[in-house]
Amino acid sequence: MLPCPPNPATSVPVEDRGLGSAVSDAIAQRYSESGAESYGITPQDFQQIVTAVVIRYAADASVAEQLELVATLRIGELILARACTEGNEHAWNVFLVRFRASLYEMAYRIAKDEATGRELADGLYAELYGIPNREGRRVSKLNYYMGRGSLEGWLRTVLTQQHINRCRSHAKDVSLDEQDEAGVSFAASFPAETAETDDRVSIAIAQTLADVTSEERFLLVSYYLDQRTLANIGHQIGMHESTVSRKMEKLTKELRRRSRKRLQDAGFNSRRCDELLQELDVRDLNVHVTENLRQERPVETF
């Protein structure tokens, strides 16, 4: 199960960590557009709410970054979430009008099953309304929303996390009979082959990958390990599919060139280098032969 972030309301001692006057002024300027007044939130409370967010995410950042963070906050939705947490009736009416229908729709899309989706959405809706803690105080999950992204996106992400956790927890509950009947899905893995791997190859690959940036590494693992599509990767990092494709092509060529050079430096001849690099097509490793013969996706060598 994925870890949940700590409750910022209890973990961040706001009063002990002040912000600069410029940041405070920037926060105060956003009070009017937040709609906090309609929910009965005073400017002082508003200042405290936003300050907690800034301290949580940019306490050690520069003033410019803090100002940028204040400017990019979804201030209206953040105040709405806080007002709902405090049990403001008007805020809940606004929340239900804006997000209740989309909450259930998102759950259906994530679960791809109406019953599961409804159960998922009902569970999250109960958490949003608030579950009593040990002290008997009702704690809403909306208190974890910090306004960094959209409230709808946050709800979608939370639904996704809960859906994944739910699937994994249910997978652990599968009986042994179901495992036997399921067959291949729960089959034990084959014993590891005792193939010998030259340490020089591993070292060369590790050195090559150590030089790539975080984005390039994310592209590689998403494409080669997770086998995501280029379109899905592009949506995740905010790029067009064709841009991701060009980046991947350029990246693989560069990595192949670097790896080949490192392997040659390690003492392999050109022919052996080509054989080793051909074997490094990680995407082709787990593909069945019949699927490979379909030629739906050209075999890409690394």
Binding site: L2, P3, C4, P5, Y57, A61, E65, E68, L69, T72, S102, E105, M106, R109, I110, Y144, M146, G147, R148, G149, S150, G153, R156, T157, L159, T160, Q161, H163, I164, F190, A192, E193, A195, T197, V201, S202, I205, A206, L209, S214, E215, R217, F218, L220, V221, S222, Y224, L225, D226, R228, N232, H235, Q236, G238, E279, L280, V282, L285, N286, F302
Partner: protein
């Protein structure tokens, strides 16, 4: 077969730094929406490249968001692909209906404005199927000749009642060959009592053109003309057109279409019976062998003496001129006089 354990690249890619905390839902959402600061983005990218769990959450959430956006886009495209609403159609229908109603009202008003006491010739004009016909004005019947003389030719032409079929046509010449009974039996139902051998009391109305050229046309030919052509000719021939008739007392009268009839030859005691017009040549004949001729559309008159061998007085019943110079005059007893020099000599 799972061979990932033996692929150095896969092993290296899968090697993650699991000691770092996972970014919360807020940060993952902001990452997918591009709302993170640059430093934060690099940190999240580094974590994502090493954390399959967070990549899975991000991928699934992004896919759900894309599906929603695609649904919205397809909805918008569907709306765009619908045929455009013809918002102008109701307004065009209303406008067309109003035009039809207004036209009907105008036509009705024009019909109602036609005086009941108008001359017979006006009935003939009304029968022509065109709204562009100038209707006779509602001038008082007692309007004197002074007011008429003040009118310009254009004003007169605008008040003409009977459109001529052709600018070259002398209606009177043709009509004079027909007895009134034949005219009444005609298929047109003409109510004009064009005078030829008209008994006393009948009203004869004639229209004459001011045109010089001469090929004449029969009345039947005029009837067969299309209305549009007849109206066109009438509008051309409307200038300085005079109307002639013989009233119930047998006195010739002239009008310019304004409803005012001017007595011609007021001192003539004999009863006139027939009028013939060819361009500006006007012939009037009646009892006692009286035959008058005007070459200036009735401004001046000459009394023509017809040669008579037996000394009897004849009653002129028909006057017919093929041209301005040649024509025949026939009495009710069958005597015929022929001239080929405009009435100077007769045979």
């Amino acid at each position: 077969m799972n061979c990932s354990e033996f692929n150095p690249l896969r092993q290296e890619l899968a090697r993650g730094r699991q000691d770092e905390p996972h970014p919360d839902s807020d940060v993952l959402t902001a990452f997918s929406e591009g709302a993170l600061l640059q430093g934060e983005r690099q940190q999240v990218l580094a974590h994502l490249s090493a954390c399959a769990d967070c990549r899975e959450v991000l991928s699934l959430a992004t896919t759900a968001a894309i599906d929603s956006a695609d649904d919205l886009k397809s909805f918008i495209l569907t709306r765009k692909s619908l045929p455009p609403r013809r918002a102008w159609l109701p307004w065009a229908s209303i406008t067309a209906s109003l035009l039809v109603v207004c036209t009907a009202v105008l036509v009705y008003q024009q019909k109602m404005a036609t005086p009941k006491s108008a001359t017979v010739a006006t009935k003939e004009a009304v029968q022509l199927p065109s709204p562009t016909i100038q209707q006779p004005p509602l001038l008082p019947q007692l309007k004197g000749p002074e007011s008429h003389s003040k009118m310009t030719n254009s004003q007169r032409s605008s008040q003409l009642q009977v459109p001529l079929p052709s600018q070259n046509m002398a209606v009177a010449n043709v009509i004079s060959e027909r007895p009134i009974e034949a005219a009444k039996k005609s298929d047109l139902g003409q109510q004009s009592s064009y005078q030829s051998s008209t008994p006393a009391g009948e009203i004869a109305t004639l229209a004459a053109t001011a045109q010089k050229t001469a090929p004449t046309k029969s009345f039947s030919a005029f009837v067969n003309d299309s209305p549009a052509r007849a109206l066109s000719n009438a509008s051309i021939a409307s200038a300085a057109r005079s109307h002639w008739r013989i009233n119930s007392l047998g006195q010739p009268e002239r009008s310019f279409g304004d409803g005012v009839w001017q007595a011609i030859l007021p001192h003539e005691q004999s009863r006139m019976r027939v009028v013939s017009v060819f361009d500006n040549e006007v012939w009037i004949g009646g009892d006692s062998s009286r035959l008058y001729h005007s070459t200036d559309n009735g401004a001046t008159w000459n009394l023509i003496t017809l040669p008579d061998n037996d000394g009897r007085e004849h009653s002129i019943a028909h006057i017919h001129f093929q041209t301005a110079q040649s024509g025949t005059v026939e009495s009710d007893d069958g005597t015929v006089w022929i001239t080929s020099d405009g009435g100077r000599t007769w045979e």
